[in-house]
C-alpha cells in the first residue's frame, strides 16, 4: 500500500559509499548558474573554450589529427568551437568541406583506416543522419568485420539535443540511437572539465567515438582546476562521475540535464531529501557499476534525459538496475524524458516538451513516496 512511509536508508559508513569510484569533488556543486565562484576553484572556463583548447592541444601533440566539417575553418566554427585553429594549423589540417555529410564522413573513415586521426564535426547531430551509414557501417563495424585489421580512430563531434526554438528537425537527441550500436563509444560531457577530458580521451582513443555536445552549454562557465588545464589531462571513457553525493534517491543525467538535476537536488535538499546526482559522462560503455552501487545505497532511482522516451537511455538504465539491483529497489524507477513528440517551435510548447527542474523534483518525490498526486494536463 502506498503510504507516506519513507524508508530511511542507512546513512554514511556503508561500504558501498566507499566503493563508489569516480572523482569526488572537495566541494559540493550548487545550482548550475553560469557564474560560480568558489574560493577553492583555480579559474573558470567556458565549455567552448574547453573544447577549443582540447582540440588545439591534441592537434599540436599529434600531426595526424585533423578537423573536418562545415564552417570549421574560415568561419571559425559554426559555434566558434574551432576558433583560431585555421590560423594556427593551416587549411591542410582544418578543412572546410562542401555540404556533403555522407561524403566527408566517409572520407574521414577512409583516412582513419590508414592511420590518420580525423575529428569530424557535424554542425548538429541532426545532420549526422545523412552520414549515419558511415558512422555505423563503415566506422563502428569495421574493426569487427576485418577481425582487428582495421581500427578506426575517428571522433564524430557536434551539438546534440534541443537548442532554443530551432524546431523539430534541429532538436533531436541521438544518444540512444548511437549508444545502441556495438563498436561505437558515445560520450556526453557536461562541464568544462568533462569537455576537455573526454574530448582528449576521444581523440586519443583508437576506436570510433561519438561525442555529443550541447549547444546551450557552450557558453556556460565552470571552475577548472590546474590538473584539468594540464595538457596531458584526460578522463577515462566508461566512468560516470558522482556530481553530488547523497543517500535518499539517485538521479542519473547526462549533458545539459546534469545542470537541471543539480538544481533539483538543491530544491529537494530544502525539503529534506538528500539526492545523489550522477553525471553519466559515457553512454556507451555505460557505467553500470557506479549506477548500481548508487542505487544499492539509496534504493531509489530517477533517470533524466532530454531525448525521446521510448527505447531511450533511461530505459536501458532501468533495465540494468532491475537486472543487478532489483532487491535493493524500494520504489519503481522513475523515468524523465522529453515528450514523445517532435519538438514544437512555440516557446511555451518547447518548454513542455523538454524536462524542467520541476519535473525532476516531482519524480524524485514520487520515488520517495512523498508526492501529492496532481492532475496531469494532456
Amino acid at each position: 500500500m502506498l503510504g507516506v512511509v519513507r524508508q530511511k536508508v542507512g546513512t554514511g559508513g556503508s561500504p558501498l559509499t566507499v566503493a563508489i569510484l569516480g572523482k569526488t569533488l572537495p566541494f559540493l556543486r550548487a545550482a548550475a548558474t553560469p557564474l560560480r565562484s568558489y574560493s577553492s576553484a583555480a579559474k573558470e572556463m567556458t565549455v567552448r573554450d574547453a573544447l577549443n583548447s582540447a582540440l588545439d592541444e591534441e592537434m599540436s601533440a599529434d600531426p595526424r589529427v585533423f578537423l573536418m566539417g562545415e564552417e570549421v575553418g574560415e568561419y571559425q566554427g559554426a559555434y566558434k568551437i574551432s576558433k583560431g585553429l585555421l590560423d594556427k594549423y593551416g587549411p591542410d589540417r582544418v578543412i572546410d568541406t562542401p555540404i556533403t555529410e555522407a561524403g566527408f564522413t566517409g572520407i574521414g573513415v577512409g583516412a582513419a583506416y590508414h592511420g590518420l586521426k580525423p575529428v569530424i564535426e557535424f554542425m548538429t547531430f541532426n545532420f549526422s543522419m545523412q552520414a549515419i551509414d558511415h558512422i555505423i557501417n563503415s566506422a563502428a563495424k569495421s574493426n569487427y568485420m576485418s577481425a582487428g585489421q582495421l581500427s578506426v580512430p575517428i571522433v564524430f563531434r557536434g551539438p546534440n539535443g534541443a537548442a532554443a526554438g530551432v524546431g523539430a528537425q534541429h532538436s533531436q537527441c541521438y544518444a540512444a540511437w548511437y549508444a545502441s550500436c556495438p563498436g561505437l563509444k558515445v560520450l556526453t560531457p557536461y562541464s568544462s572539465e568533462d569537455a576537455r577530458g573526454l574530448l582528449k580521451a576521444a581523440i586519443r582513443d583508437p576506436d570510433p567515438v561519438v561525442f555529443l555536445e550541447n549547444e546551450l552549454l557552450y557558453g556556460e562557465s565552470f571552475p577548472v582546476s590546474a590538473e584539468v588545464l594540464d595538457s596531458s589531462f584526460s578522463l577515462p571513457i566508461g566512468k560516470a562521475k558522482i556530481e553530488k553525493e547523497g543517500k535518499d534517491v539517485t538521479i542519473t543525467a547526462f549533458s545539459k540535464m546534469v545542470g537541471l538535476a543539480l538544481e533539483a537536488a538543491d530544491i529537494l535538499a530544502k525539503e529534506g531529501i538528500n539526492a545523489e546526482v550522477i553525471n553519466l559522462r559515457s553512454i556507451r560503455p555505460l557505467d553500470r557499476a557506479t549506477i548500481n552501487a548508487s542505487v544499492q545505497k539509496t534504493n531509489r532511482l530517477v533517470t533524466v534525459e532530454e531525448g525521446f522516451p521510448q527505447h531511450g537511455i533511461g530505459a536501458e538504465i532501468c533495465t540494468s538496475v532491475i537486472e543487478e539491483s532489483f532487491g535493493y529497489l524500494d520504489a519503481p524507477v522513475e523515468r524523465i524524458a522529453g515528450a514523445d513528440v517532435p519538438m514544437p517551435y512555440a516557446a511555451n510548447l518547447e518548454r513542455l516538451a523538454v524536462p524542467q527542474v520541476e519535473d525532476i523534483v516531482r519524480a524524485a518525490k514520487r520515488a520517495c513516496y512523498r508526492s501529492v498526486p496532481m492532475a496531469v494536463a494532456a
Binding site: G106, G110, A111, A147, E227
Partner: protein, 437 residues
C-alpha cells in the same frame, strides 16, 4: 569557332566507341581503327591548357578531339589484333594467370555454394575479370583498393592468397578476416584492400579518404614521395547515388590521387542501367566535375590496362582523379540467389563471345607471344591452386566461441594501453584524471 566542327567530330567518335554499347545492336566486329579512340584519348591532354573554347568550361569535347589527333600522330597504325608493343610475354602471362585465377575461383565458389559450404550472399565476378586485372596489376602493394560486395576477384588480384579468401567464404578461422566478414566484407591490411562494402556507394567516400590520406601524408606529415593511389571499383547502379557525386566533387576539388572505376555491366540486379539513368553515358559525369571522363571496353584487358596506366600515372603525378567507365558484363546473375530472368539470352551470348580470357588468349597466341602449352600449364596450375584453397578451407576449423566478442573495439577495455604497456584502467591514477596519457 571551331567548337562546332569539333563537336560534330566528337559525335562521330562517341558513336564509334558506343557502337558496342547498346545491347540491341549486333556488331561483333570492332572497327579496326577504334582501338584507342574514346578510350585513352581523354587522358593524354591537360584540360586546363586546352581551352580554345574559353575558360575550360567544357573541357571534355576539346580534350577528346584534340587528344584523338595526338594519339593518331603518336601511334603507328595498329593492326586489328593490336600491336605487339602493348605487353611483354611476362606481363601477358601475369595477366592471363590473374584472370584465369579469378574465373576458376568464382566457378568454384558457385559449386561450393550449391553444395552448402558457402552461404548468405555471394556475388560472382565472371566476365568482368579484365577490369580487375587491368587495373590492379598496375598497382603497388601500398596502393589501396576499395570494392563492393563483388570483391572476391579484387582481393585475389590485389594479392590476398586464394586460401584465405576461400576460408573467409566458408566462414573459417583462417579466412582473411577470420570468418567475421564473409563474402561481402573482404579486408586485408597487408595488401591494402580496404573493403568489401555491402552498401553500394559506401566504398567511394572511403576510397576518397584513403586518397586524402596519401595527400595528407605527403603534404602535412612530410613523408617524401608518398604517391600512393587508390582505386575505387563500383557499378553502374552506384552512379546514380548521392555519395558518388559528392566524392567526384571533393576528389577533384582537392586533387586527390584516386581513380573512380565504374564497372558498367548494364544491370543492377534486375534494373537495367538504361531504365534507371537519365543519361546512361557515365563517363560524362567526370567532366561535369572538372575531371577527365573516359570510356573503355571493359572486356579487353589490354585496353583497360592502357587506360589504367594513364589514370594511375596522372594520380601519382598529383594531377587529380579520373573517372573511367568500363563497359563490361557479368556472365552470371547478380548473386547466386538471383534467377537472372530479366536479361535477354541474345545479350548474354553477345558478351559471352567477348570473353576477356578467350580474347587475351587469342591475342597472345596470334602475336606469337606464348604457346598453347604454356597457357594450358597455367590453367592446370590455377586449377590446383583453387582445389588446394578448397581443401585448406574445408580442413580449417570454424572460429572459436570466444571470437564472438573479440575485436569490437581496438581498445577493448575502453581506456587503452598506456606507455608502460599495461591497460590504463588498471592504473589507479587514471580515474583521477592525472595519469600520463
Amino acid at each position: 569557332m571551331s567548337a562546332a566542327s569539333l563537336s560534330s567530330s566528337i559525335s562521330v567518335i562517341r558513336a564509334a566507341s558506343f557502337a558496342n554499347d547498346k545491347p540491341a545492336l549486333v556488331s561483333s566486329a570492332r572497327p579496326p581503327s577504334s582501338a584507342f579512340l574514346g578510350s585513352s584519348a581523354g587522358l593524354r591532354f591537360d584540360p586546363l591548357s586546352s581551352s580554345a573554347a574559353g575558360a575550360g568550361l567544357r573541357p571534355s569535347p576539346v580534350v577528346a578531339a584534340a587528344a584523338a589527333n595526338v594519339v593518331k600522330e603518336k601511334q603507328p597504325r595498329s593492326s586489328p589484333s593490336g600491336s605487339n608493343l602493348l605487353i611483354t610475354k611476362e606481363e601477358g602471362l601475369e595477366l592471363y594467370e590473374d584472370m584465369v585465377l579469378g574465373r576458376a575461383f568464382e566457378d568454384m565458389c558457385a559449386q561450393m555454394y550449391y553444395r552448402g559450404k558457402m552461404f548468405g550472399f555471394v556475388h560472382l565476378y565472371n566476365g568482368q575479370e579484365a577490369v580487375s586485372t587491368g587495373f590492379i596489376k598496375l598497382l603497388k602493394q601500398e596502393d589501396s583498393v576499395v570494392s563492393t560486395y563483388r570483391d572476391h576477384v579484387h582481393a585475389l588480384s590485389k594479392g590476398v592468397p586464394a586460401r584465405q579468401v576461400m576460408s573467409e567464404l566458408f566462414g573459417k578461422e583462417t579466412g582473411c578476416c577470420r570468418g567475421q566478414g564473409g563474402s561481402m566484407h573482404m579486408f586485408s591490411k597487408e595488401h591494402n584492400l580496404i573493403g568489401g562494402f555491402a552498401f553500394i556507394g559506401e566504398g567511394i567516400p572511403i576510397a576518397t579518404g584513403a586518397a586524402f590520406t596519401s595527400k595528407y601524408k605527403r603534404e602535412v606529415l612530410k613523408e617524401e614521395g608518398c604517391d600512393h593511389v587508390t582505386v575505387a571499383f563500383f557499378g553502374d547502379g552506384t552512379c546514380n547515388n548521392g555519395q558518388f557525386f559528392e566524392c567526384l566533387n571533393m576528389a577533384q576539388l582537392w586533387k586527390l590521387p584516386i581513380i573512380f572505376v565504374v564497372e558498367n555491366n548494364l544491370w543492377a540486379i534486375g534494373m537495367s542501367h538504361l531504365r534507371a539513368t537519365s543519361d546512361p553515358q557515365i563517363w560524362k559525369k567526370g567532366p561535369a566535375f572538372g575531371m577527365p571522363g573516359v570510356h573503355v571496353d571493359g572486356m579487353d584487358v589490354l585496353k583497360v590496362r592502357e587506360v589504367a596506366k594513364e589514370a594511375v600515372e596522372r594520380a601519382r603525378r598529383g594531377e587529380g582523379p579520373t573517372l573511367v567507365e568500363c563497359e563490361t558484363y557479368r556472365f552470371r546473375g547478380h548473386s547466386l540467389a538471383d534467377p537472372d530472368e530479366l536479361r535477354e539470352p541474345a545479350e548474354k551470348a553477345k558478351y559471352a563471345a567477348r570473353d576477356p580470357i578467350t580474347a587475351l588468349k587469342k591475342y597472345m597466341i596470334e602475336s606469337n607471344l606464348v604457346s598453347e602449352a604454356e597457357l594450358k600449364a597455367i590453367d592446370k596450375k590455377i586449377d590446383e591452386v583453387v582445389e588446394d584453397a578448397v581443401e585448406f578451407a574445408d580442413a580449417s576449423p570454424p572460429p572459436p566461441r570466444s571470437q564472438l566478442l573479440e575485436n569490437v573495439f581496438a581498445d577493448p577495455k575502453g581506456f587503452g594501453i598506456g606507455p608502460d604497456g599495461r591497460y590504463r584502467c588498471e592504473d589507479p591514477k587514471f580515474t583521477e584524471g592525472t595519469a600520463k596519457v
